[in-house]
Amino acid sequence: MPYTKRRRLVSSAVAVALGATALAACGSSSDDGEARSGPVSLTYWTWTPGMDKVVDLWNKGPGKKEQITVTVKKQASGDTLVTKILTAHKAGKAPDLVQAEYQALPTLVSNDALADIGDTVGDVKSKFAEGVWQQTTLGTDAVYAVPQDIGPMMFYYREDLFKEYGLSVPATWEEFAETARELKRKAPDKDLTTFSANDSGLFAGLAQQAGAQWWTTSGDKWKVGIDDDATKKVAEFWGGLVKEGAVDNQPMYTPAWNKALNTGKQIAWVSAVWAPGTLTTAAPDTKGKWAMAPLPQWGDGESSTGSWGGSSTGVTTDSKNKEAAARFAAWLNTDGDALNALAKEGGIYPASTSAQLSGAFMSPPEYFANQPDFYKKAAAIAETTAPSAWGPNVNVAYTTFKDAFGAAAKNKSDFTAALDTMQRDTVADLKKQGFGVAE
């Protein structure tokens, strides 16, 4: 894109200018004779637990050598952080580094909050799966962030109860529906799982697996495909299961849901690689009774999964030390020790493919001690992640999903109508903001 090239020119010109002023400042104050500026201190907004300990590794190791000190400012996760970053950016006071979920990147880039760091981090591309890296470039030749963690989706089930009720692990979604019905016949008060409308990421991941492309571009227009055939298929599938009562319709992450998992009232969960952590707190009594399998597929012999969650590290346009910040971002997400610490302290599943099978990921999570090859399987599943397509108003689509699908799940009504609402509201919002929208 010519536009991006121009942008890069401008930003490198700015970088040169900044470097020059920094050098000038350096000449008078520092005498260590290094080519780059003097000590640099960076702030980093992140919600990963234990990040301060990982950053300590940098500050005491490579950061000390390069005189780059990073300070962690702990934040709340999700959409509120995006708003917070944008507000800070408006005042020109965004931190140097931010953690951002993949689906938030277009929003941040469209507000000109994230800098193109391709020149510094371009060579770490090979450490990540193609589909993951593509999310940080938004399909342009700029690079707006370094992938940190990913959330490939998987199917979790109670191994003991599946055996007890004579159920087999579904390989396709058709079999999944059959399994749900069979369980209802054998144990009417139990549910295979629930369709929850309070986390839009789950539905987005399921649609992604089916091949949905919610936001695509053609020329200088966005095309919204939330009601495309793939997503419709997913919506109809789950709507049908809820309507016939084969699965529950109550939201996840409630005390009632915890209890249902802990007592075996719900015996499976469509989730992602981070599920062991959630299950540890939600269903502590069933430790060692669960097993993980690939997500059911839409066709025989296919192997594809969606992603639910995952985030990246970006450098803001407000940062005065973009190159130093980008160097830290690259280290944090590709260095073996850093990723090991991230896995241990923050419980994340790394985006870096080489880290997925080393260090902390040699042995299964404690909760899944019964499945020694947990992470080997997980890495194989992660490879099959379908490409995703995010747009500049994911937040609006996600909100509409929660309300429209929440109501549809409650009333056991038509899910495709809820999907239409989601499409309509998302397009209307893009148009209202002035984006070019292709019909």
């Binding site: 000109d112 342009t140 909100t399 070019g436």
Partner: protein
């Protein structure tokens, strides 16, 4: 004009010749009140008028994106005129939210104030025992923060974890889903009534204690029963506090936010835009559109103003009519 009179009196009382000229003295005397007003005015302007003015200013602006909206300069803030207001007024979700809150208020306000008045009258009666303890016990829920109260009740409403449902189940009684449809309004109102009754009771009770004892003596000599005393003397005499508590309750109801927000993750029945303020929050922090949120906030503030002052004027008029009678 009064100035000549004042000038003479000033001169007579003070030392007229010590002043450089009578006009400066006058100026100083006139500016003194303004000088004393400066701190309050400054604070008012800085922390009240300025933020509100800024919010109103924001409500007349919007962000205009061009093309794909990627990169610098693709986004600019422009004048929107009344667009945000027409959008807000034509947004059925905001209106539905207002209607939901109206329904909620129709339960909360009468029940809460009715209970508060009843408890206050009972505490004020002569036969009451353990009054200080009861008063404290009824007031105590007010000290529990709204979010904590909503969490607490939310757990009690969830069939799978609630002890109430456990008991109902043991006795084979029907188990209503309190977080669904109509019962949801009762469930939400219950939290507000539980938390707010104590405060309103204290306000009314304090007013009851201020009624002079002679009034009761006279009533008793005339042969009034305790019930008659309550209905004919106590309630009319605490009417001003009832108006006050009603006024506070309306405002609190219009601003309902924390209870539905806390219950939202527990059920599909509470949407992200259940109450008008939740919609403002969602637009500002979920969808990142502060301009739409500012317009809605301004509208809600205006509606609150109109409703509460309308109510105050209506009661004032009635009072005047009664006084005239």
């Amino acid at each position: 004009m009064k100035s000549p009179v004042r000038r003479t009196s000033y001169g007579v009382k003070g030392a007229p010749y010590a002043h450089p000229s009578p006009t400066t003295a006058l100026k100083r005397a006139r500016s003194a009140p303004y000088f004393f007003l400066v701190p309050a005015t400054l604070l008012f302007l800085l922390f009240f008028a300025l933020p509100i003015g800024y919010a109103v200013w924001l409500s007349f602006r919007k962000v205009q994106v061009s093309g794909l909206g990627l990169g610098a300069g693709a986004r600019e803030e422009v004048w929107a005129g009344l667009e945000n207001y027409t959008d807000a007024l034509s947004d059925s979700e905001l209106l539905n939210g207002a209607l939901r809150v109206l329904g909620y208020g129709c339960i909360v306000v009468p029940v809460m104030l009715g209970l508060a008045l009843l408890f206050a009258l009972m505490l004020d009666s002569e036969k009451v025992r353990l009054a200080p303890f009861t008063r404290l016990a009824i007031f105590l829920p007010y000290a529990v923060p709204g979010v904590v109260a909503a969490l607490l009740w939310g757990f009690l409403y969830l069939p799978d974890v609630s002890p109430f449902y456990f008991v109902l189940d043991e006795f084979g009684l029907p188990q209503p889903d309190l977080l669904d449809g109509g019962p949801l309004y009762l469930a939400l109102s219950n939290i507000a009534v539980w938390g707010g009754t104590g405060f309103n009771m204290i306000v009314i009770y304090t007013a009851l204690r201020a009624i002079p004892a002679e009034v009761y003596e006279a009533a008793k000599l005339d042969g009034a029963t305790p019930l008659q005393i309550a209905l004919r003397i106590k309630i009319p005499m605490v009417a001003p506090s009832l108006v006050l508590t009603f006024f506070f309750s309306i405002i609190a109801t219009l601003q309902v936010f924390s209870e539905p927000t806390v219950l939202k993750p527990l059920t599909n029945s509470v949407s992200t835009t259940w109450s008008p303020l939740m919609k403002v929050y969602q637009d500002a922090f979920g969808n990142g559109d502060i301009h739409a949120a500012a317009a809605q906030a301004t509208l809600i503030a205006l509606a609150t103003l109109v409703l509460s002052f309308g109510f105050l004027r209506a009661t004032n008029r009635r009072n005047k009519q009664e006084a005239a009678r």
